[in-house]
């Protein structure tokens, strides 16, 4: 039958089949190619980021020495004589990110333990969307909140200061910003821990708290640490909250009640003004941006590495 068919109807059937295959022949590689190009955009983006930052940063370091940039303790690029010590900006950034981490990481982790080990389904279905809403609040709104609520209603009465801008009010709100990030990523890590580990501990008579603290959290530790690192990296790169609430004076201090300026806030301050391209002031924002980029990159890469190790164990 087959043979008869193919012989008698060859002239009609074969061209159709051939046409079909032909069309696929050029279509398939074309689709493949276009999709590959889309994926390559991300690689190009990375190259573009590194190239633009490098170009201006190198130009900056032709005029300012590395020792002055990383060793100097005053940041006054618009004064004469100008001084380009990045330490005050770095200290401001670390102070705010550090304080934010200090209270956001434990709260985020405990929320995650609560969501994965304790909360009944109905409570989870309320809490999780609310945390997502909090995560979706634009940072400029959080900055307004820091400036109009946290600073006048909490920080100033509590510590009896008159400062409107302080590292503390900014860092409280930066902390609030990263709690949902920590809780959702840590919760993912906790729920990935196999049921059998929990059951084993329960069978030995452990209470729910003991199972969580001695079994589940240690088993998910690398995932939790990864979420912590991402959160700190996000806090370091946060811009609008600190631009609105932390003040605008580079200040090498450990006192959270003083106004400080972070690296990100400095970049915003410069770009709000009128800065000529090619001037040293224009280049400072790229040098500071490069420092910021490298700091967050290191934290992100370590976090990715920990996560991949974690997935190897459990998935």
């Amino acid at each position: 039958m087959d043979r008869v068919n193919s012989m008698s109807g060859a002239s009609r059937i074969k061209p159709r089949g051939a046409l079909g295959t032909k069309r696929r022949d050029w279509r398939e590689p074309a689709v493949h190619g276009v999709l590959l190009l889309c994926a390559l955009v991300s690689i190009l983006t990375t190259f573009a980021i590194v190239a633009t930052l490098l170009e201006e940063t190198i130009a900056f370091f032709e005029e300012v020495s590395l020792a002055e940039f990383f060793g100097g303790t005053t940041w006054t690029p618009n004064f004469t004589p100008a001084s380009y010590g990045v330490l005050p900006l770095l200290a401001g950034t670390m102070l705010i990110a550090g304080l934010a981490a200090l209270f956001a990481l434990p709260i985020g982790l405990i929320t995650a333990v609560f969501l994965s080990e304790y909360a009944p389904a109905w409570l989870r279905s309320i809490l999780k969307p609310l945390l997502e809403v909090l995560a979706g609040i634009p940072t400029v709104v959080l900055g307004f909140f820091a400036l109009t609520f946290v600073s006048p209603e909490i920080v100033r009465p509590l510590f009896g200061t008159s400062q409107i801008f302080s590292a503390l009010s900014a860092s409280i709100v930066v902390g609030i910003m990263v709690i949902p990030l920590v809780s959702s990523l840590s919760e993912d890590a906790l729920t990935a821990v196999p049921r059998a580990l929990r059951d084993g501990a329960y069978a030995l008579g452990a209470t729910r708290f003991e199972v969580a603290r001695r079994v589940v959290v240690p088993a998910a530790l690398s995932g939790i640490v990864a979420s912590f690192l991402l959160a700190v990296s996000r806090a370091v790169g946060e811009t609008m909250i600190v631009a609105l609430a932390a003040g605008g004076t580079p200040n090498l201090t450990y006192d959270p009640l003083e106004a400080v300026q972070t690296m990100t806030a400095y970049i915003v301050q410069v770009s709000l003004g009128d800065t000529a391209q090619g001037s040293i002031e224009f280049r400072t924002i790229f040098a500071v941006g490069m420092t910021l980029f490298l700091m967050t990159l290191v934290m992100n890469v370590i976090s990715q590495y920990l996560l991949s190790k974690f997935r190897e164990v459990y998935e």
């Binding site: 696929r24 279509r27 398939e28 689709v31 493949h32 999709l35 590959l36 190009l37 889309c38 994926a39 390559l40 955009v41 983006t45 980021i49 633009t52 930052l53 434990p106 709260i107 405990i110 929320t111 333990v113 609560f114 969501l115 609310l130 997502e132 809403v133 909090l134 979706g136 609040i137 634009p138 709104v141 307004f144 909140f145 109009t148 609520f149 609030i176 209470t207 729910r208 708290f209 969580a212 603290r213 370091v236 790169g237 946060e238 811009t239 609008m240 631009a243 609105l244 970049i267 915003v268 770009s271 709000l272 790229f286 941006g289 910021l292 980029f293 967050t296 934290m299 976090s303 990715q304």
Partner: protein, 293 residues
């Protein structure tokens, strides 16, 4: 015998007590975020609700806070969202489809994947520096809504790619096998079978990415979106402002009238964002339900 029994009971009580104490700590921790969210919404509503009116939505900025409005900012935000979506959605979905359905499992694919994860963690202000150097200066687009949208498209691209990849990964392999068994080519299988099934999940990712884009402020300050714009953009090369920048501008002024305007602007922004987020959450729940069954 009796003594050790008592000791056991005491220990058990202590252990249960610790558990109970921790449960209370848990509730308190969860309460911090919920409390912060409620206070924030309450604070903004109390500050801004009185200022909301049609005039506020339909007026240009002004030196007098009571005459100022968000018309230019709202139109700028709409322009930017549409253009950003036009760039980021096709490229993001294309990249995700490539990585999930086409890419060979080799080192190059892994490099792309790691690179996307890292891009997602780059601070938004660094994208602003990129946009300033690349789009505003090198490509000479000036401080236009086009330059802003391109910058924002690069910023949200990793979010779209990662979400779309997850949606594609959730599509059962049997659908792919069935399409191949019926003689479909790879692209027919992907575009007629897999992508439609993954669509709700992809849409969720796109909506969340766009809501991130309209809330972002820092990168647009970097590329020089204006603080005072008494007009709406009429083509992609016009200068522009957006809602978050208008809010930032008002919030950083000391006068109470402008603070009130900032709060009212925030209310408008939050209504837009919450609407988008709830659409995304509904879509995702529907997507998860269809895939569980």
């Amino acid at each position: 015998m009796i003594r050790s029994d008592q000791a056991l009971r005491r220990r058990l009580r202590a252990r249960r007590g610790a558990g109970l104490a921790f449960a209370v700590v848990c509730l308190a921790a969860a309460g911090v975020s919920i409390g912060a969210l409620s206070i924030l919404l309450l604070d903004v509503t109390l500050d801004g609700a009185g200022r909301l009116s049609w005039d506020f939505v339909n007026s240009f900025p002004s030196r007098k806070p009571e005459d100022a409005g968000i018309k230019a900012a709202l139109w700028g935000t709409i322009w930017m969202m549409v253009l950003t979506a036009a760039f980021a959605v096709p490229i993001g979905l294309g990249a995700a489809i490539y990585l999930e359905e086409y890419a060979p499992r080799n080192w190059f694919t892994r490099v792309i994947q790691v690179n996307i994860a890292n891009l997602a963690g780059v601070p938004s202000i660094v994208y602003g520096l990129l946009g300033l150097a690349l789009f505003v200066r090198a490509m000479d687009l000036n401080r236009s809504v086009l330059a802003g949208s391109l910058t924002m498209a690069l910023l949200v691209l990793p979010i779209i790619i990662i979400a779309a990849q997850e949606a594609l990964r959730a599509v059962p392999g049997s659908i792919r096998d069935a399409a191949y068994a019926l003689g479909a080519s790879r692209s027919q299988m992907v575009f007629y079978q897999v992508v439609p099934v993954a669509m709700p999940g992809m849409m969720t990712g796109i909506i969340l990415a766009l809501s991130r884009a309209i809330g972002e402020t820092a990168p647009l300050i970097m590329i020089g979106a204006l603080l005072f714009v008494p007009f709406t953009p009429s083509d992609p090369l016009d200068r522009f402002t957006v809602l978050p920048i208008q809010i930032f501008n008002w919030a950083s002024r000391p006068q109470a009238g402008f603070q009130e305007n900032a709060a009212a602007g925030i209310l408008v922004l939050l209504v837009v964002l919450l609407t988008m987020d709830s659409v995304a959450i509904v879509l995702r729940n529907r997507f998860q339900r269809t895939h569980k069954g």
